[in-house]
C-alpha cells in the first residue's frame, strides 16, 4: 500500500538470489485468487489514522519463492479513488530467500527488529541471528514469512504524491489465512502495521479459483 511521500525514493536493488527448490509446502489460503482485507495503521505522533486495505494474490511460484498481487488502499486522504499498487513478494523459504533482506536499505539489525515483532518468529530468532535462517527447516512451520515490495501504481500516476519506496515484512498464518505486516521505509513512520484477514465475499465458507499459464 502506498504511503505519503516524504522525499524522493531511492531506487531499490534487484534480487541476486539463486532459484532453488523450496522447502515450503503449498498453502491453499495463499494461492492465486485469494483475497484479504483489513487495515494499515499510518498513525503519526500528530494523528491516529488507519487506511482500509484489500489484497489479492495474483501469482505464486513456490519453486522460486515468488508471490505477487495487488494492494488496494481505500481511504487515502489525498486520492480521489482507491489507490491500487502491484507488489512482488519474496517468500522466506531459506533456499531462495533468507530472513536477511540485504537490500532496500534494510540492514540485518533492521530485519531482526521487524521480524521480532511477530510472536511466531521468536522460536527462530537465535538461528536467524547466526545465519539469517539459512539452516532452518520451515517446511512444517505454520507461518510463512515474506517481504512484499510494491513495484508500481496500477491506477494512478507515479506523480500522485504517494511513495512506494519501502517494503513490508509479512507474516502469514497458514492456520486461518491472517496476515500481519510492518512497513519499512527509513523515510516513513516506523512500524506501520498491516493487518489483513481472508475474505469470503459474502459466502458461508471458502471458495477457490485458478488460472494456468501456458
Amino acid at each position: 500500500m502506498p504511503v505519503r511521500m516524504v522525499e524522493s525514493p531511492a531506487p531499490s536493488n534487484s534480487s541476486g538470489a539463486n532459484p532453488g527448490q523450496t522447502s515450503l509446502q503449498p498453502c491453499s489460503l495463499l494461492s492465486v485468487g485469494q483475497a484479504f482485507s483489513g487495515t494499515q495503521n499510518v498513525s503519526s505522533p500528530q494523528k491516529e489514522e488507519a487506511w482500509r486495505v484489500n489484497v489479492r494474490i495474483q501469482g505464486c511460484d513456490l519453486n522460486h519463492g515468488y508471490l505477487c498481487g495487488t494492494m488496494e488502499a481505500l481511504n487515502v486522504p489525498m486520492a480521489d479513488t482507491p489507490v491500487v499498487t502491484f507488489w512482488e513478494g519474496e517468500i522466506v523459504d531459506t533456499k531462495n530467500y533468507t530472513f536477511f533482506t540485504n537490500k532496500w536499505k534494510a540492514t540485518s539489525e533492521v530485519d531482526i527488529e521487524h521480524w521480532t515483532k511477530f510472536p511466531s518468529f521468536s522460536p527462530l530468532l537465535s538461528q536467524v541471528e547466526v545465519d539469517g535462517g539459512k539452516s532452518l527447516d520451515l517446511s512444517n512451520y505454520q507461518y510463512i514469512f515474506m517481504r512484499w515490495k510494491e513495484q508500481y501504481f496500477v491506477n494512478v500516476g507515479a506523480d500522485c504524491g504517494l511513495t512506494i519506496a519501502g517494503f513490508y515484512y509479512v507474516c502469514f498464518s497458514c492456520v486461518d489465512g491472517s496476515i500481519n505486516g510492518y512497513y519499512y521505509d527509513p523515510n516513513s513512520s516506523p512500524f506501520q502495521k498491516l493487518e489483513l484477514k481472508t475474505t469470503n465475499e459474502g459466502r458461508s465458507g471458502f471458495s477457490f479459483s485458478s488460472y494456468e499459464l501456458q
Binding site: 491453499s28 512482488e88 465458507g205 471458502f206 499459464l213 501456458q214
Partner: protein, 659 residues
C-alpha cells in the same frame, strides 16, 4: 528486327538433335550435350521442360553406349545428368527411372579424375534429394563401398560418401553400425581437407551422432580430445557454413549429455558464434538462428547466458532492420520465445521496447503459417509475466484483434498456437477482459470448444477457464450465455481427461466470486452440477478429481440449499449403505492436493452457523467421513492437517459422536 526462332534453339529441336546424335559421331554428341547443359544449368523451368520432353533418357542412352575412352563425352553426360538432378526432384526421378545410377557408379572407378569428379558430382546431386533411394548400410558390400569412397583422395568422391550418409542414416541402428565401422573417425580425418570436404563431413557427422548418446559416448565428446578440439577450432573457421556446422555438432553432443558441454565459456562462445552468423543474409543465417533457438530451449541456464550475451537486443535490432524472409523471422521469434519461457528479465526487455512488440504483433498476420505460429508462441511466452498481465499490458486492440482473427485460420497449428496465447492474455487482472468478450473472442472460443480435434478443444476450454478467472459478473454472464449449460456439461464429460480437467476448472471459476454465481450450476435442473458429481464418481485421473472437488467446495461455500445439493452429490440417496462415499476415497488419496480439496469441502459443509449443519455432520459421520478425518489429524501435508483440524473442530461443536 525479331524473326521466327530457329527450330534448333527450341527445346523440341534440341531434343530432336539429341536423339539423332545418338547415332552420330562423338563430336556431334558432345556439341548437343554441351548445348543442353548450358540451357538447363541453374534454370529450373528449363530443366522441367526438357525432362517433360524426354531429354533424360536420351542423355542416359548416350552415357550407357559411350566408350570408356570417350572421356569428354562421359564428363558431359554426367554433368548434364547432375544438372537435371540438382535441386529438382522430378529430375532425380527421371535419372533414376532411366537406369543411370549404375553407369554413374562405374564412372567412379574411371582412370581419368575429371570423369570421376563428374560422376561423383552427379551422384551427390541425386543423394541430396529426398526421392533418392535409401542406402542400405547393413549390406556388407555397401559399407565397404562407402568406406572406399571416404578413403579416396578426391573431394567429390568423399563428398559423395558424406552425402550418402546424410541422406540415408536415420535410425539409431544405422548410426551405430556407421560408428562401429569407423566412419566417424574417417569423417574427422576429412575435417582437415578442403572447405567442401569439411562441410560435407560435418553434416554427415551430425547425422550420425544426432540424438544418439550411445554413439556419442563411444566415439565423441570431450574425452575424445582430438575430435572435441577440432570441432571447437572449427567454430572459429573463416567460412560461415563451417562455423555453423561445427556449432551444430557441439550442440548435438551437449544435447545427448549436458555434462559434455559444461564449460560456461564454450556455451557462451557457441551463442556468440551463432549470433554473429545472423549477419549472413542467406541460408546459413536462417539456420543459425534456428540452431540457437533449439540450443537454448528447455535450459534456463543457457537462456540466462544468452540473455547476458545481449541476444535479445541483437535479435530485436535485427528484426526491425529490414524486411526479413519467413524462415529468418520464424527463427527469431522462436529464439525470443525460448528466452522468455522462464526469465522475467527477458520479457521485460521486449515489453519495454514497443517497436519490438509491434514487430511480433504485426507478424500475427504474416503470409507464412510458420511465422504466424512462431509469433503466437513468442507472444505466449512473453505474456507469462504476471507483472505485466497485472498492468493490463496485453489486453489492447492491437494485440487482441489479430489473435481473434487467427482463431479462424485455415491451419489448425495456427489456431492452436493462437488459443495458447489467448489463454495467457485473458488472465488479465485489470478488468479489461470485457474487451475480449466484446470483440467476439468468446463466440469463437466456444465454437472451437466443440471442435472434433481434441487439441483445439482442450486449448479453447483452457482459454475460457482463464478468461473466467476473477471475471466481473457481467462478463461472466456473457460467457455463460454463449457457452450454455449444455455445452459446458458435454465438456465436463469430454472423452479427453485433459479437457475434463480444464472444463471443471472453468466451472470452478464460474461459481467463484459473488455468491449468486453458484446458481449457474443449478440451471436446467442442475445439469452441470450432476455432471460434476458423475465425474467425481467415475473419473480416475486425480487432476480431474481435484478440479471436480473444488467445484463442490465452491458450491458448498454458498447457502444452505447449495450445501444440501453438494451433500446429495457426495451421499446420493440411491446408493446402497455399503457403498463407500467418494468423499472417503478422496480423503484416502495419495495426492495431497486432492485430500486438501476434499477437506475444504467438508469444512464448508460443517460451518456451525448453518441451519442444516448438524444434520450434515450426522450424515457425514454415518458415512464414515468423520472417522476418516480423525485418522488424518497428523497428515504429512501441513495444509491437509490444518484443514482437518478445522473440520473436526466444527463437527465437535455439535458434540463428539465417537462414543
Amino acid at each position: 528486327m525479331p524473326g521466327s526462332a530457329s527450330s534448333t534453339h527450341r527445346p523440341e529441336g534440341l531434343i530432336e538433335r539429341l536423339r539423332s546424335a545418338a547415332a552420330d559421331g562423338g563430336e556431334a554428341k558432345l556439341k548437343v550435350l554441351r548445348e543442353l547443359k548450358n540451357q538447363i544449368i541453374g534454370n529450373r523451368t528449363k530443366k522441367l521442360s526438357y525432362i517433360k520432353l524426354g531429354a533424360v533418357p536420351s542423355v542416359v542412352s548416350i552415357l550407357s553406349s559411350a566408350s570408356s575412352s570417350a572421356d569428354c563425352l562421359l564428363v558431359q553426360c554426367a554433368a548434364s545428368i547432375g544438372s537435371f538432378a540438382c535441386g529438382v526432384d522430378a529430375g532425380v526421378k527421371a535419372v533414376l527411372d532411366t537406369g543411370a545410377f549404375p553407369h554413374l557408379i562405374n564412372l567412379l572407378s574411371h582412370p581419368n579424375e575429371k570423369v570421376v569428379d563428374a560422376g561423383a558430382r552427379a551422384l551427390k546431386m541425386i543423394y541430396q534429394s529426398k526421392v533418392a533411394p535409401k542406402y542400405d548400410f547393413f549390406e556388407e558390400k555397401n559399407m565397404e563401398f562407402l568406406i572406399s569412397l571416404l578413403d579416396r583422395n578426391n573431394e567429390n568422391v568423399t563428398g559423395l560418401g558424406a552425402s550418402i550418409i546424410t541422406h540415408s542414416c536415420e535410425t539409431n541402428d544405422e548410426q551405430k553400425i556407421l560408428g562401429d565401422a569407423g566412419v566417424l573417425k574417417k569423417l574427422i580425418d576429412l575435417l582437415g581437407g578442403t572447405t567442401s570436404q569439411r562441410d560435407a563431413s560435418l553434416e554427415s557427422f551430425a547425422t550420425i551422432i544426432k540424438e544418439n548418446p550411445e554413439v556419442i559416448s563411444k566415439f565423441v565428446g570431450p574425452e575424445n580430445g582430438r575430435t572435441w578440439g577440432t570441432l571447437i577450432e572449427l567454430t572459429k573457421d573463416r567460412y560461415p557454413r563451417t562455423r555453423l556446422l561445427a556449432c551444430v555438432c557441439l550442440i548435438l553432443i551437449k544435447n545427448a549429455a549436458p555434462s559434455n558441454l559444461q564449460s560456461v565459456g564454450i556455451r557462451t562462445k557457441l551463442i556468440l558464434v551463432l549470433l554473429e552468423l545472423l549477419d549472413d543474409p542467406g541460408q546459413v543465417g536462417d539456420e543459425a538462428v534456428l540452431t540457437l533457438s533449439s540450443f537454448i530451449a528447455d535450459d534456463e541456464g543457457l537462456q540466462k547466458l544468452a540473455f547476458e550475451a545481449n541476444t535479445i537486443d541483437k535479435l530485436c535490432d535485427h528484426m526491425q532492420k529490414e524486411l526479413l524472409q519467413a524462415k529468418r523471422l520464424q527463427g527469431i521469434f522462436m529464439t525470443l520465445a525460448n528466452l522468455c519461457s522462464n526469465l522475467e528479465c527477458c520479457r521485460s526487455i521486449i515489453l519495454q521496447s514497443p517497436k519490438a512488440l509491434n514487430v511480433v504483433t504485426a507478424a500475427l498476420t504474416h503470409a507464412s503459417a510458420d511465422v504466424r505460429v512462431a509469433a503466437c508462441v513468442c507472444l505466449k511466452n512473453i505474456s507469462r509475466s504476471v507483472k505485466y498481465l497485472s498492468a493490463g499490458h496485453f489486453m489492447t486492440e492491437a494485440v487482441i484483434m489479430p489473435l481473434i482473427q487467427l482463431l479462424f485460420d485455415t491451419s489448425t497449428s495456427v489456431q492452436v498456437a493462437a488459443l495458447c496465447t489467448i489463454s495467457n492474455l485473458v488472465v488479465d487482472f485489470t478488468m479489461h477482459k470485457s474487451l475480449f468478450v466484446q470483440s467476439g473472442g468468446v463466440k469463437q472460443l466456444v465454437q472451437l470448444s466443440k471442435s472434433m480435434d481434441s487439441t483445439v478443444r482442450l486449448n479453447a476450454v483452457w482459454a475460457l477457464r482463464n478468461l473466467m478467472f476473477l471475471v466481473d459478473s457481467r462478463c461472466k454472464e456473457g460467457i455463460f450465455m454463449e457457452l450454455r449449460a449444455l455445452t459446458l456439461t458435454s465438456l465436463v464429460c469430454d472423452p479427453s481427461a485433459s479437457v475434463q480437467e480444464q472444463a471443471l476448472a472453468l466451472v470452478c471459476n464460474l461459481v467463484n466470486g459473488p455468491v449468486d454465481s453458484i446458481e449457474y450450476v443449478f440451471t436446467e435442473d442442475g445439469l452441470l452440477l450432476n455432471a460434476v458429481g458423475r465425474q467425481l464418481w467415475s473419473a480416475s485421473k486425480h487432476e480431474v478429481l481435484i478440479q471436480g472437488m473444488y467445484v463442490l467446495c465452491n458450491v458448498a461455500s454458498g447457502q444452505e440449499f447449495h450445501k444440501e445439493a453438494v451433500m446429495q452429490q457426495l451421499l446420493p440417496q440411491a446408493s446402497s449403505e455399503d457403498t463407500q462415499s467418494i468423499m472417503v476415497t478422496m480423503l484416502q488419496s495419495d495426492v495431497a492436493q486432492l485430500r486438501t480439496a476434499a477437506v475444504w469441502t467438508i469444512v464448508n459443509l460443517t460451518i456451525p452457523t448453518g441451519a442444516g449443519a448438524l444434520a450434515r455432520v450426522v450424515k457425514l459421520r454415518n458415512a464414515g467421513i468423520v472417522s476418516q478425518l480423525k485418522n488424518m489429524v497428523n497428515d504429512p501435508c501441513l495444509d491437509v492437517k490444518l484443514r482437518v483440524r478445522t473440520a473436526l473442530g466444527q463437527s465437535m461443536t455439535f458434540g463428539d459422536f465417537s462414543t
